[in-house]
Symmetry: C2
Subunit: 478 residues, 2 copies
């Protein structure tokens, strides 16, 4: 791993592409007030939750309300070879939304309609601006739910574009497994459909899964058909405190290896529990903790819970606390989902550099424990949460964005962690995506040959490199 | 849908590409006896289980024993722009293996080593020539199994290339969900890796799933990492007879909509039960039948079985017969897996034209019942089996391959069925792939725009169109 591939490269921005006045005039003519060049609007679309703060905002923001709007915006931009950066709710952690080469932001947040709920088939079709919570609101009266839950109330479009997951993925999979079909606007402004509502298919190249995780670089999704699941008959959540992170991790490994269909299995370290307690006014024990949830029939849930208690007991797990009412469960999981914001608030003005490694479950202890030791030794404050049932965890190193030294320390920790995860046959990113921040790690992980194949696909589908350029892999055509 | 897109086009072969003697000499120099031009070997590699019998065999067969062999064979062929057609065990139903433009067959059957079993992570890495039964033999001592089970004992490479599934997909998913990582030789003869052993990843374009289902047209898989599952603590299989296909289908729909985690849910119609009885010397009731299997803890299996019996009873299901010992279960499922061969033997000399539609579960009765009526009215003998828990079923119309009339009748039935499935938001192929037979249906299903995107990807990754050309979409460059 040599420096040019790695985050340090971001210090130097690539050349900005010109956004001609003729394009801005054409966009304003077509979109009227739904095309804004106001600085405050542009700035709001020129940042995300990533630690990158030095990229100028896009030249304009187009608020699309329909597939036709998306297609027209892309066609106009394509005619001028100007970058188009899709925008959902702005919760990316990896700089996906930043206009690193200039261009326009295409905000699909107004495309927030749930188009059809097919309860009998356990599917729903939505526009990309619908958030995960809004999907769940729309389907709960049918006794259904959509399980994918990244920390933020992200848009479904953004979640699909980054192949997001969250706390339920250990049982229900990620966006990879839960997107059935798409409507996509191509770089040429053409509207295509991928997939059907059938549960499985062998009909040609899997364009659906090519688009899922392509981070807005191959097309802009305008309709997304998702799988739904019946709300489980019984749900039980529990927290369990452990004498060490290692004990919590070894409990997790055994749960997974035994094939227990646990629905959620989350680790929070002691320091992060402290932050969450302060932020959410909770009184959780400030020790390493697993948060777990069991879904099934009442008997099935009880059976799972008993097995897990037995395993946890072998590793010194204690103080099981059960939450069986929806209110108790919601409070518990809200705390978990707020860990990120709790941490950010613990150090005013800070930004988090988030890691996102994911390793085979047998390697989880090796990967995690060494990285905890390194983080502790660094002196940098951090939070640590993990979808440990999947082998995925996040350190968030809390840095002063103006401190080059803190940034360098955090990047060095991240670098060490990724190198360790790759050596253990894991990935640099379990769910956040590559964006700007992991382009070098992607090369380390998959090799130049696979990245060359990605570039060839990008070149074939977007020859003028207008869709979210400069993300995932370095941009040799700019 | 107009005729040029559809199976009738196969009557006219595309131009054969020349296989120069210099290439044959180079292959024989490199591979010695592992490169054969014997007619019997070429003919064995120039056919499959599809109804196409008029395509000349490949000019040579190379038996690869390693990734280096695959890479060298492709590089030599690429230098002469000669087609390369990967070959596993030859069980394709859709003409995937046929040398429609000439070229060489690349047999990976000798690459049949299980490279590593990672029991703790529930993964196994195999070479592409390993068959599904061989994978299960290799991992059962670890208490694990690999659930994907197409009818034939297919090679894992072939299964990945066609995005295969089978009877367990209703619970465990298809090859789409169960391939974690690949080693692939590209059209340039370069070796790349896609994916890792981590359970999930957001690291760039999903090349793994692009390769899965690409039918040998984008690369040749040389290593495949699969997910495994713990052998369930308890397994129970049952058959249940129904007064009508409709009753069996409505039972299935309700099982799925209630979210019962049934492991297998297969339909066999009365006529096919009759064929299976004759072939496998069984005494099954010759009525429409569901074959079901339940996996889980003893209590969980019992709970599922009770729920399903209750549902079946509402639709007139009767004569539940349970198979709880491994021997009884194996006999039951062997019968199901042999349905295809039982049908073929029922009409000596026949070939089967297999349908493979898959529809959303709510549309299953509509799709299936009208198609049964049409098949009955045609007078053509057929078998009917279905992975109905997934909305996927297969008619096999039994035709005399020399009878143009029977072929035309079967194709007309297939055409009507596919049109119906597409109108019901389904797919023309749930698990067999497009191959030669469904190229027109693919256009009908996904539209010219999506097929154009597939062509663009093919062109980018294989600009000289040497990897299994003329499959999936019509070949405009030949």
């Amino acid at each position: 791993m040599n420096a040019p591939n790695h985050p340090a490269e971001l210090a130097a921005l690539p050349p900005q592409r010109e956004v001609p006045h003729t394009l801005l005039a054409a966009l304003q003519n077509r979109f009227g007030a739904a095309c804004s060049t106001a600085l405050v609007v542009r700035e709001q679309h020129g940042r995300d939750e990533s630690p990158f703060t030095h990229v100028p905002p896009p030249a304009a923001v187009v608020f699309a309300d329909s597939t036709a709007d998306v297609a027209d915006a892309i066609r106009l931009a394509a005619a001028h070879r100007v970058p188009v950066i899709p925008f959902g709710v702005g919760s990316s952690l990896e700089g996906h939304l930043l206009a690193v080469q200039g261009g326009i932001s295409l905000d699909v947040g107004r495309m927030n309609r749930v188009l059809s709920v097919n309860a009998e088939d356990l599917t729903v079709t939505v526009q990309p601006g619908v958030t995960r919570k809004a999907v769940n609101e729309a389907v709960k009266s049918e006794g259904l739910f959509f399980p994918i839950d990244p920390g933020a109330d992200a848009s479904i479009g953004g979640m699909a574009a980054t192949r997001a997951s969250g706390t339920n993925a250990v049982r229900y999979g990620t966006m990879r497994e839960n997107v059935l079909a798409l409507e996509v606007v191509t770089a040429q402004g053409e509207v295509i459909r991928t997939g059907t509502r059938a549960k499985k298919s062998s009909a040609g190249y899997d364009l659906t899964r090519l688009m899922v995780g392509s981070e807005g670089t191959l097309g802009v999704m305008t309709e997304i058909t998702l799988k739904l699941y019946p709300l489980p008959e019984a749900v039980s959540a529990a927290t369990c405190s452990f004498p060490s992170i290692e004990a919590a991790v070894r409990t997790t490994i055994q749960i997974i290896q035994m094939g227990i269909p646990i629905a959620r299995c989350e680790l929070i370290d002691a320091g992060t529990v402290r932050m969450v307690n302060a932020h959410s006014k909770l009184g959780l024990r400030e020790e390493p903790m697993l948060l777990m949830e069991f879904h099934g029939s009442p008997a099935g849930v009880q059976e799972q819970a008993e097995l897990v208690q037995e395993i946890a007991g072998e590793f010194g797990g204690q103080a099981f606390e059960w939450a069986t009412t929806p209110e108790e469960r919601t409070r518990l999981w809200t705390a978990r989902h707020n860990a990120y914001f709790a941490a950010i608030q613990s150090k005013p003005g800070c930004r988090a550099i988030s890691t996102d490694t994911c390793v085979p479950i047998s390697r989880l202890a090796d990967c995690l424990l060494d990285s905890v030791a390194e983080a502790d030794a660094s002196g940098l404050p951090y939070f640590l949460v993990g979808h440990v049932g999947d082998g995925n965890f996040h350190f968030g190193y809390l840095i002063d964005p103006d401190s080059a030294e803190e940034r360098a320390t955090a990047e060095a920790l991240n670098h060490q962690l990724v190198a360790r995860a790759l050596a253990l046959q894991g990935t640099c990113t379990g769910e956040h995506g590559v964006g700007l921040h992991k382009m070098g790690f992607l090369v380390d992980e998959t090799g130049e040959g696979a990245v060359a194949m990605m570039r060839a696909i990008k070149q074939a589908l977007d020859p003028h490199n207008i869709l979210n350029p400069g993300k995932i892999f370095s941009d040799r055509t700019a």
